[in-house]
């Protein structure tokens, strides 16, 4: 009798912990994991530019995000970041862009985008952003006259 009770309670604990832990693992995994390999994703989201003017680059980024109808939520020159948000239908689209020195001649711009509760990993979307950013840089340069 005693033994059978022990087995049952043991099983109970096992099932309970399995249920609890599996829930934990699934939500915890989301904190660090990206759906694609980190390296591939980084190259899709990044672009190097031949300038070292971080301030000007950040202003071009803000202008581009405004061109793309983003509400600017936050920006920081020290950290080199800009964060914005817009809506597509009822879905919230959040975007952050970081600008940092790549070497003594180049800056690295990295963008990442979230669509609702999904990360955006489609290379075409990021290509569109960088081509918009290039246009914005061109327009800024044109205002020299």
């Amino acid at each position: 009798m005693m033994r059978a009770g022990g087995v049952y309670s043991g099983l109970g604990v096992l099932i309970l912990s399995a249920v609890l832990l599996s829930g934990c693992a699934a939500s915890q995994r989301q904190i660090l994991a990206a759906d694609q390999s980190q390296v591939a994703l980084r190259s899709i989201q990044s672009r190097a530019f031949d300038t070292t003017d971080k301030r000007l680059m950040l202003r071009c980024v803000i202008n581009t995000m405004q061109d793309l109808d983003f509400l600017i939520l936050d920006s920081s020159l020290d950290l080199g970041t800009v964060t914005g948000q817009k809506y597509s239908g009822k879905v919230v689209i959040k975007m952050s862009v970081t600008v940092k020195d790549r070497n003594d001649k180049q800056l690295l711009v990295r963008a990442n985008l979230e669509y609702g509760i999904e990360p955006v990993e489609d290379p075409k979307v990021y290509q569109d952003f960088f081509s918009a950013l290039e246009k914005s840089i061109f327009l800024t340069a044109q205002q020299v006259d």
Binding site: R55, L58, R59, I62, N63, Q66, D67, L68, D69, L71, I72, L73, D74, S75, S76, L77, D78, K86, Y87, S88, K90, V91, I93, L113, Y115, G116, E118, V120, D122, K124, V125, Y126, D128, F129, S131, A132, K135, L139, T140, A141, Q143, V144, D145
Partner: protein, 186 residues
């Protein structure tokens, strides 16, 4: 027999439709420049003949406050000001039409919640970016007004960019007055 098959096929089709509707397809053009972005820039940007970026930034903040906005964030190093105001979006005509429709529906014995979809609250966001021109003899100001509207159920109803030229002109007029300089179009 053929009739049952047809019914089964229809049911399958309906089930597939329901499943497809559940899966939200991510649009491909999330970050594609809108075709009218240059016209929008022209409306949102002005140039002032001064190199004093800080003065223009302060004048912009003052203009936003004059227009009833509260400053949410500012980053003077980048020349960025983010501000907003919350206002009602209730439109009497829209509400009356919705209630009439709901009542008519109730009398006919069906359920309708048109009232729930009427506009209730809006947040108007204004983001300002003050840039010195590369030539260093002028300062560029860009302001963008956007509105987010929620319905009576508290759900997001619409997100739009304000296109009325009068609103932009009023902002630039206020900045001009504060710094005693006429603005130029880009």
């Amino acid at each position: 027999m053929t009739e049952t098959k047809a019914v089964v096929r229809k049911l399958l089709l309906a089930a597939t439709c329901v499943f497809w509707a559940g899966c939200q397809v991510m649009p491909k053009n999330l970050l594609l420049l809108p075709p009218d972005y240059l016209a929008a820039r022209e409306q949102q940007m002005r140039k002032y003949d001064t190199a004093d970026e800080k003065k223009v930034l302060q004048a912009s903040a003052g203009a936003l406050q004059d227009l009833g906005f509260t400053i949410d964030k500012s980053e003077a190093d980048l020349g960025m000001i983010v501000s907003s105001k919350n206002r009602t979006a209730v439109n009497a005509g829209q509400v009356t039409a919705a209630i009439t429709m709901d009542l008519a529906c109730a009398m006919m014995g069906c359920y309708s919640n048109a009232y729930g979809n009427t506009d209730k609250e809006q947040r108007i966001e204004a983001s300002v970016l003050v840039n010195s021109a590369l030539s260093k003899d002028a300062t560029l100001v860009r302001v963008k007004f956007q509105t987010v509207i929620w319905n009576a159920q508290g759900k997001l109803s619409r997100f739009t960019t304000v296109k009325d030229p009068k609103i932009y002109q009023e902002f630039f007029d206020k900045v001009s007055k504060a710094i005693f300089l006429e603005e130029h179009k880009i």
